[in-house]
Amino acid sequence: MSIAVRTDGLTKRYGRSTAVAGVQLEIESGEIFGLVGPNGAGKTTTLRMLATLLPPTAGDAEIGGHSVRRDPDGVRTVIGYMPDTFGVYDDMRVWEYLDFFGRCYGMTAARRRQMIGDLLELVDLADKKGEYVQDLSRGMQQRLCLAHALVHDPQVLLLDEPASGLDPRARVELRELLRELRALGKTILISSHILPELEELCTSVAIIDHGRLLASGRVEDIADRFRVGGVYRANVLGSDEKVGHAEQIFAGLKDVVSVVRRPGGLLELALRGDENTAATVLSGAIRGGVKLSSFAPAASDLEELFLQITNTPEVHA
């Protein structure tokens, strides 16, 4: 497996504030890589640097062997970029939109015609060919924007929040589309703050917060690294004070990585170790006087992992 994207200490500062701080990533070709983090974590800045839209303050990145700093034009030929908030040109028909980008990549008329037909078929917009871009629905525009990123058949796709603002059905369609693209051998880098949309899709993830890379690698590897035995949900009986009290007691126990409070007296605990530690934690809480109506493992998924990792510094602070 060759490396499609590699970043080396990629850093972006705006004056004093640091948007991205020394991100190290390696993405193998053929992967669907999820870049996950809360809003303002630096996902978009990272992607924009990879897409040669922002010059990095320090560090470098290589895509398909081209350096973002030294050979941005080379990078531009191997990437397809879809920004988080993308605009559409007014007064343009769907086929003209793709034709325009085809011209931008210097394609001949015959190749453009072929490409437009293929891409509209791929993103399921073939019957909208003659419509104005601004008349399409949000989901269709999103697919058209994805098609635009595929005009020159790039090896690497950089998709910034591709599923934001989509209804569940459109999201499923997008997921199918991305799977198809992966089957075509493309490397896909997706950013999102909504995890479920990446969960089934990604082969690897990187979790980023405050511009720092907290974890990256295969989903299973990350789980191992943080030695998370599982996420448990505890239902606390009683008033808000009681719940707050219970939260403190849980946070003070050994092997509890993080505690997240949910409405309705629900606490989510990330625990190290196996079921035995869970039993120890449970008995410790009961000894502390916490009244529980239930204590059960939650499905350990990406979102739990994400919350756990991004919450960790706060809990321990």
């Binding site: 034009d73 531009r76 011209r103 210097g106």
Partner: protein, 451 residues
């Protein structure tokens, strides 16, 4: 040896390929962007409705000038009667203080001159408004609608993008300008304006459109929001068209008050405001061209341009020092035909340039202002006399200034489109101190992203 040659050839080929590649990206930028823009701009009826309204406006304006001048001529003729020995008083060609003889030829020339001047100034005004209006959103709108990122991530060169934007906006402005040529050709019916005058006028309008379009484009690339860009662009246009004239006037008055002796206004070379201040004022260039078509030798436009350039428009070198204070009493050669920049041809048929004309005595000092003085006897039929305004003294500089402005602003705009698309002159971070004997060839200045 052969290996070296092969290496060089390979290197040369690579450089050639790189240049060709850059040119390709440049060219596809221009073509892709301008085709896209023109598709949007020319779609539907809007473009053609604008064209129609524009031509109707120009036609109406020309007709109004025609009616006005005819009426004015009629009233002056009635007031003065015919052939009473006096030359008729001043009557308006454009813009008002020209004079004609009381015969049909001169009246007609006055109308031709008036329509030419009126159309020229109106078209200048329209170009001044429309050219920047079409470009002032070119980049900032793409930023606002977040489509610029899509463009910047393509391998197009930013200069190509910017020129494509400018070209597509200018194509439409040029269309408007060209569409007015048949209308402007109406002046040939009346006289006073030759085809060369019209060619001059249109050359200037094209240069103006280019300069102003580039101004809008530059501001659009400079400023984040279209609204701000629009306001800033038109403030700059106002500064160029009104601000420079006001500043020039102020300077001129200040310079004159310090350099004048006694009550006589002297305009020496040292007492003039710099002409370059007005190079980017399109209306002064207009006046230069209007003056050149004035059917008589005295015209307000000529007086103004003469005050700017410091060139007298009577051929006499003795008049050089007395302009413009003494002007009103200066002798006016009564030659009715296309006076503009013309030279009376003497019997031998040789034209005499203004500079070589023999001195003409100044009647000015003896003349009361606003009274027409008799021609001095020396200025007989055989006396070669150059008169009128020397042609092409100002507008070519103005047109050149607009072209240069356009080129500079276009290049600057291409640098402002994206932070990753700037010319970078890479400096070696650390230069090892060299022993003094070895002569190191100059470090080649690597220019990345040149196009």
């Amino acid at each position: 040896m052969t290996a070296l040659a092969a290496g060089l050839a390979q290197r040369g080929g690579r450089i050639g390929g790189r240049v060709g590649h850059a040119l390709g990206r440049f060219w596809s930028g221009i073509s892709a962007v301008s085709i896209k823009e023109l598709r949007g701009r020319m779609r539907g009826r809007r473009a053609f409705v604008v064209l129609t309204i524009y031509l109707l406006l120009l036609g109406l304006f020309a007709f109004a000038i025609y009616v006005y001048l005819k009426q004015q001529a009629a009233t002056t003729l009635i007031n003065n009667g015919f052939g009473n020995g006096f030359p008729p008083p001043d009557f308006g060609g454009f813009p008002g203080t020209g004079q004609t003889l009381g015969n049909g030829t001169a009246l007609s020339a006055g109308i031709g001159h008036g329509i030419f001047g009126g159309l020229l100034i109106l078209e200048t005004l329209l170009v001044l408004v429309l050219a920047p209006a079409f470009t002032t959103g070119a980049i900032s709108l793409e930023r606002e609608k977040q489509t610029l990122d899509l463009l910047v991530t393509t391998p197009l060169s930013t200069l190509g993008i910017v020129i494509g934007k400018l070209f597509s906006a200018l194509v439409y402005v040029f269309l408007l300008i060209i569409a007015s040529i048949p209308l402007a050709s109406l002046v040939f019916v009346f006289g006073a304006v030759g085809p060369d005058d019209l060619v001059r006028a249109y050359l200037f309008l094209f240069a103006l459109a280019f300069g102003m379009g580039a101004l809008g484009l530059f501001v659009s690339a400079l400023v984040r929001r279209t609204q701000t860009a629009t306001v800033l662009t038109f403030v700059l246009v106002l500064v160029l068209s009104i601000g420079t004239a006001a500043a020039h006037q102020f300077w001129q008055v200040a310079a004159r008050s310090t350099s004048s002796s006694s009550g006589l206004l002297l305009t020496s070379r040292s007492g003039r405001a710099p002409e370059a201040l007005l190079w980017l004022n399109p209306f002064v260039a207009d006046l230069d061209m209007v003056c050149a078509t004035a059917p008589d030798t005295y015209h307000l436009s000529c007086e103004y341009v003469s005050g700017v350039t410091g060139r007298p428009y009577f051929g006499s070198p003795t008049n050089t020092q007395t302009f413009p204070g003494v002007l009103k009493g200066a002798p006016v050669p009564s030659v009715p035909f296309r006076g503009g920049g013309g030279v009376i041809v003497n019997d031998s048929g040789a034209g005499v340039a203004p500079e070589t004309a023999p001195p003409v005595p100044v009647a000015g000092v003896d003349c009361a202002p606003n009274v027409r003085c008799a021609m001095p006897p020396e200025t007989g039929a055989n006396q070669a006399l150059s008169f009128g305004f020397p042609r092409d003294t100002f507008w070519p500089k103005s047109a050149t200034a607009f072209l240069v402005l356009g080129v500079v602003l276009t290049l600057l705009a291409s640098q402002l489109v994206s932070p990753t698309r700037r010319l970078r002159i890479s400096r070696p971070k650390f230069r090892r101190p060299q022993p003094p004997k070895t002569i190191e060839p100059d470090e080649p200045v690597a220019v990345e992203n040149a196009s």
